[in-house]
């Protein structure tokens, strides 16, 4: 079988341990980002006042729609940066610090979420507000959101 592979520094090219390779074309396909971008400022979404408080029922607010033409549902990742001022039970978040919504994607402050979905035509990032409960973050002001999304070549379905 033809292909190429490259070992990490200090490893042997003849190794049989996949962990020793920076990459190998003989492995299952790499998750190559075909379409990715960072969106902020005019391309992002900014709350200039307090975000909505939890209300009754669940509300979805679409923030951003990214069309794609892959023709299938691709693997994906989305990160969100939140720049805001507010407080929560464990301390104050100062203005200018970035909260990197970790996990592919969900920045949660109880009952309020940033989520996303992908189908065979588009990626949609949305703000989700669930009903009930106290907000994990309080007194949030001037929340600015920006995103980084990846649509990978890898086909999920």
């Amino acid at each position: 079988m033809n292909g190429i592979k490259a070992v990490l520094p200090g490893k042997n090219i003849d190794s049989t341990d996949p962990r020793d390779f920076a990459f190998s074309s003989l492995d299952e396909p790499l998750a190559v980002p075909i379409q990715a971008a960072s969106l902020s400022g005019t391309g992002g979404y900014t709350f200039t006042t307090n975000p909505p408080e939890p209300g009754s029922g669940s509300t979805l607010i679409p923030l951003l729609t990214v069309p794609h033409d892959f023709g299938y549902v691709p693997a994906s990742l989305v990160y969100v940066f939140m720049d805001f001022q507010g407080s929560n039970p464990t301390g104050t978040v100062p203005t200018g610090s970035y909260l990197i919504a970790p996990m592919p994607l969900v920045a949660a402050f109880a009952y309020q979420w940033i989520g996303y979905s992908v189908d065979d035509q588009q990626l949609i990032i949305y703000y989700q507000i669930d009903s009930g409960g106290a907000s994990f973050l309080t007194d949030v002001t001037n929340m600015q959101l920006s995103f980084k999304y990846y649509l990978f070549s890898t086909k999920l379905e």
């Binding site: 996949p18 979805l60 990197i100 999920l156």
Partner: protein, 247 residues
Amino acid sequence: MPAGFKAAQLGADVNTAPDYELVVSSEWPVLKILTIVPIAIPVVGASDMLVYEHNLGYYPAFLAYADGGGQNTPGQVAITNLINQNFYVTQSGLFYSSFSSPMPKGFVIIFEYDVVNTVFNAPTQLSFGTPSSATQNTNGLEISKSNFDIGSTNPDNIAFTTANRPLQVQSSGQINQTGTTAIPVPHNLGYPPVHFLYQLLNGNQLSLAEYKATADNETIYFSGVQSILGVCYYIILKDAFASQALS
């Protein structure tokens, strides 16, 4: 200089380009996909369910996607914190927690990356800067998947290309948050990078952590969202959050 190869972005000299102008380097491991496991769990059992036996002998990185999960409608796939925390890996298998809701349809990507035992720091000397567009190289290297034509226009048929920057690892290692103070991890990339954080629970169950992170140009600070993290393992990637569009 060790043997290997690297590819620079269009317009950059590969011999002198700093890291942020490189598309790929064999000194930086990529997240190689071992397999994609289809998920179909219409009913949750009384005990944790073995979904897939990987038998790797280590804890691999993974990402879980749910079709129609949360607020998504069927046909729409997404990762969420909760969905990923429904799954964990051991050194032999992928499991679905008995405390989770059914997941009629989903996918889990398992990577060939040893999360717990890989302590890695990219050896390349870094120069500060922000990655810019990595695309539209007219020259470069492209490798198709086995049995697919290199001329295919279907991106899923391509195993590797220097036209775009794959996810490559800057560093990985362990942290242990025992109090509420956020744990700093230097990265020295010159920009806030994207990353993953995995949490080891019950001594042998690795799942994606529920965490928050703040970052500046030199350091990421990890902390729990609603509880102290304990022992976690980070993977910091080369990509910047604020890089320009790839395409």
